[in-house]
Symmetry: D2
Subunit: 358 residues, 4 copies
């Protein structure tokens, strides 16, 4: 069984593991104030060209999302978010558990627009009964989105301007940002300049665990460590996060891993398209969503693990293939070879059926 | 500098680290349903003689406390707890953040009694305005306590009976339970029999991180994984917890580490007592609280790291020395030697001044 | 200006006010345990044929909704609700503020179906990642809905059966239930039999304020008064609620007021339909939603107050006319006369354009 | 039975009731934006000499406390409060239900001091583990306190200065402020000058219900109406609060009622003291706490209703007599006469045993 079901099936990238082993016997103060954390913070600030930004290392993404959002909102405010956004669908109501409504907007391919945000705010304040409704208090995006698509720099600029006009902090969930950086024109300095908070995910890019939250907005960063502790996110052996992020950021390893995940994913994407398969959504990153006939699905399932995503019609199912730091050329070669001999492929019709179909 | 400031300064015990390295390349499903987690669960159930108990692996103690308490209480209920209890003092109000009051009881050496619990409940229901007050809904203990003391089996039996009479779930915070098992007559099967939930802490006993929550009460265990996810505690690479606990539980490693932590701590304790130092509280476990003159404190600070705990009077300060899995005989030999030549020691007066002084 | 903008513009119905004046000098215990509350409770239990049901008097609807829902749900659960439901749109996230997500379902004319509820639950438990999603924990309906429509007894029976099959408490928001009773085949005993909790609203039916929450489910009723107090809903001079509900329930006054509100509203509805106006939604109760040309809207605005509900297109706007206990025949006669001379009416074309248009 | 058990046994003061009756048929917009509310707001701003202050009318005290505190605090902050403070003891954890810990300080006669607040904050920030503890975020006082005692202007000035030095909003619970104004040297303009928020209670001073929250701090007042709605405190027929407060504030009726409550209470107090009874706490306001022998208690219980407060020893019990707007000279004359013939009185020993005994 070759595994493509998610990007967190294996342990750590060898360089990350090596760093953990090498520093295992060091004695460090707890809770993220050790030298490794300090160094990783400095490296990230420099990569972001944001010398004053707060940097905090958390264990997981739900924790990062909940803590940032709870820190940003007053009690009567909610978080604007694509209806497919992770906080709206797959965090068991963690945001609501801190008292805040997720204000879900219709999304296209996982993305929302500056115009939608503007309209929502305008409508809110135009309504006479505004105080009876949850006030929009923050914009939450994912880069890449939960469907693998990416915002362009132009889109992010526009969303950022709109958010600032309405005085809404902009927060970007970067659980797969390493892949996102490889697939879009948005850079870390762009994120630091345009967002109030974002994070660079490690868990899905070769760390054992860890998300680096960057908070350029000093008001939002103020007292943030209290909130980390309150949300159960203050790791006793915080050095584990510092050590991993030092290795991840050093010599651009995070970019290299992201690049490699995306390259392997695009090889898979292209093999499907060239063999006449359509895509449930046309993803630019390390998640790919081809639409299979049920017969193809059965064939591929016998050799590869992947996720069933959505039933498209009686005869077709959208699935997800996901690459990770540990996906090898051989894994992908095998898969491509299998695709080329699937019963359902339409030889020669490639491209014609390619492209997004949501 | 020899470090005694806490029990989470170094990385993992060699056997734990080895297990992580050896399994790094395995591909596992996420979120704690992998084979390592299953095996570790089975081992712990067997050690607890509780074949039906729920077992869940969480990253940290605050998360474990908050999640269990939130799962157990209805909105109008609070958690009875020693005023020195961790949830009352050092979790930035994590329990309150889930909507529940911590009902703090006066504690003696970190402990509360069955009688106090009984009295509190009786008074609550005797009061005509009971509905205007937070209803006691759970009993929270720590074993060992935050001051290193331990409950005896007889005490725990009595507390358990009282809690059950008032229909209060009993929850034991075992962040340092490995040391507690070495220092008290309470065993894992006792805990499984007498508690509704408890945990065996790994972070302070040689794991990189990890707390194993055992929930013998099926009602409390029902849907518990939803709560883990909601509290940001569902680790993507959950296998890391399974792998570590497999190694920790195998051949009694957890007992061995706990035993060793306590043995080294008692050597330190005895050196202080024999040299005439009194103890702020007489701890049986891996935290020791001698009362030093300010002069002694300065002397020891130059070679050892330890924590200033409380100012006792103008001339004396209580400090905390903490041992861990990585504390060596040499570390403790050096400290004992230093104690024996401290200016403040009262040669011959030992024992006389020994004993608890809170 | 004749007022139709809502059903809480005036004070109390004369019989309610009289009861308050007559009892003003009585000395009563506080917090709803006085004789008037006890009597009103007994009357309501008898009207519901539910001798064991809990009955609690609260000041307002948002309070009633939030308190019942908080009492019913565990932390990882949410409330299934029409997307137009009051808790989803007009309570400033009060439900989320207690930690729970509102699970909004697409609604037709403000209503949801048993089939939708069934499907949502089935999908939830069919999903492998169920623990990552909010668990459906309660069904919330409004009778009548926020758009004035009503559930039939057959529909409520089916929803109740479905909810019970999935072990979901069923809660009916009856802020306008007096009107609802006049306009549907559902009776108080039906509600008591089919629901776990519901309330009979007084505020919008001639009381100064007050909602009578009936809780036939004893588990949900258990400790409910603690929750009332915690939510700030325990009125010190609780007798005010008892006194008002005694008068409201006596000799069917609540039915009479509801009947009268609906009758006046239907006169308005019919006048619009007969003059060729379509309806935004075809309401059976005391809120009516005709679609006006912008010219008609301007004409009517000069003499009547009513609410602008939604822009239908460039030239048309849906508005809301609302009747109350204090709406007189003369008020409605005047309005009908005005309708009959509106520039936008299509003489003869009535009926053709009538009917719901959402 | 003559009733002294609390100050909310009867309905409204005749002038309040008359205002409600006279305005009953007026049609007003809902939710507190009607003319009566506007007028009452203007009157209160003028009485406070605070032309810019926010003024909001809420139904009850728990709601007022919870809403103000939730509006003021960030998630990691708590409310400093006397351990006997209402929010700490008798609101079923309403503050905790919004996520915040009540930081209880030892109280003397219900009061806390500027020095205690200063010390608490100093200790918090001196502690290295500060981020692991709840941050003090607001100071909550009651004037008068739950034990009837009052702060002096000098004390309030000092507390206000201390709070401002630590950037803590100061909030004064004035559920019985009408009596407090009669018994202390603190005026409404003092409160508006020294506090960030406070309220003037109506429920315990002759209104059917109603608390007028004054918020001089514009940051705290910002968006406050959203929070009122979220907490279920936005009364549909908001005019009821406006009408009552108009009458209450007009020609100093509130001062008159407060004065009268206190005068009657002091007559009771003095009768006890003159007959040799000690006081559990020496209250200056409308609650009085004599210590009775159990025999006296039985005698008085047969004719008067009052509250058993605390068991002092085997033979003595502290009780509470409470006066209200409806307490008459005759009621108090009768009680005094009864006191003068109690078996337990020590003729001649008066004064000797008088004074506080807590």
């Amino acid at each position: 069984m070759i595994r493509f079901e998610c990007d967190y099936t294996t342990g750590a990238h060898p360089k990350i593991l090596e760093a953990l082993v090498n520093t295992n016997d060091e004695a460090c103060p707890g809770y993220g104030v050790d030298l490794h954390c300090e160094r990783a913070r400095a490296m990230l600030r420099e990569l972001c060209q944001a010398p004053e930004a707060g940097v905090h290392f958390l264990v997981g993404g739900t924790q990062a999302n909940t803590t940032v959002i709870a820190a940003a909102l007053r009690p009567h405010q909610g978080a604007l978010c694509a209806e497919t956004g992770h906080i709206n669908t797959h965090e068991t109501g963690a945001v609501e558990a801190t008292g805040h409504k997720v204000l879900a907007l219709p999304a296209e391919n996982g993305k929302i627009t500056a115009r939608q945000i503007d309209r929502y705010c305008q409508d809110h304040y135009d309504n006479e009964a505004w105080e009876h409704m949850v006030q929009p208090g923050l914009v939450y995006l994912s880069q890449p989105t939960e469907l693998g698509t990416v915002y362009t720099l132009a889109e992010l600029e526009e969303i950022s301007q709109t958010a600032r006009r309405w005085k809404l902090p902009l927060f970007v969930d970067g659980a797969r940002l390493a892949a996102g950086l490889a697939a879009s024109d948005i850079t870390l300095p762009d994120l630091a300049r345009l967002c109030d908070a974002f994070y660079l995910g490690g868990t899905k890019a070769g760390l054992l665990f860890g998300e680096a939250v960057v908070i350029p907005n000093p008001n939002l960063n103020h007292d943030f460590r209290y909130l980390i502790k309150q949300h159960g996110g203050m790791l006793a052996k915080g050095r584990l996060l510092g050590v991993q992020f030092e290795a991840f950021l050093k010599d651009g390893l995070f970019l290299e891993i992201g690049r490699q995940e995306v390259d392997q994913a695009l090889r898979i994407r292209n093999a499907f398209v060239e063999n006449g398969y359509s895509l449930f959504v046309d993803s630019a990153t390390n998640q790919q969503f081809p639409v299979l006939t049920n017969g193809d699905l059965a064939v591929l399932s016998s050799r590869y693990s992947f996720e069933v995503w959505a039933k498209v019609d009686q005869a077709h199912t959208a699935v997800r293939f996901c690459t990770s730091w540990s996906t090898t050329d051989e894994d992908v070669d095998a898969l491509i070879s299998s695709i080329q001999s699937l019963p359902g492929r339409s030889s020669g019709a490639a491209g014609a059926k390619g492209g997004s179909k949501l």
